[in-house]
Amino acid sequence: MGEKEQLLRDIGIADFVLTELVLYLDTHPFDRNAQEYFNHYNRIKLQMEKEFSQKYYPLNTRYAESSKEWRWGAAPLPWEGECA
């Protein structure tokens, strides 16, 4: 698996971890330990998404800002199989 695919997979895993923590925190809003895990993985995911968007293509228009060329259009479309 190339570096790009590995980074994309890591973003997906971080996103899954956050989704799980959200489900837990919804019913355990006072659990400090879970909140710290959430804050930690949220920062990691944002950092990985930024890194991916700079290196390859923006994953979200939130990361599409650029002075050179408009990169959002360069991103592969979901049905083109690269966002597996």
């Binding site: 997906g12 895993i13 971890v17 837990y24 019913t27 330990n33």
Partner: protein, 55 residues
């Protein structure tokens, strides 16, 4: 947010009702990739069905 979310004083609970104990959480699974494939990052929720009984 209602406040009774963590009371477990079972003697006050009416009989003939179903109860789900509250999940207590200490830590995530070591390998998040394995948790991702198992479908949960909470070891206490990882209960694969083995064809006859859950683990």
């Amino acid at each position: 947010m209602h406040e009774h979310w963590n009371d477990n004083n079972f003697d006050d609970f009416p009989v003939a009702m179903a109860y789900v104990p509250w999940q207590k959480f200490e830590r995530l699974c070591e390998d998040l990739e394995k948790g991702y494939c198992a479908g949960t990052i909470f070891p206490e929720l990882d209960k694969p069905f083995t064809g006859r009984r859950c683990v």
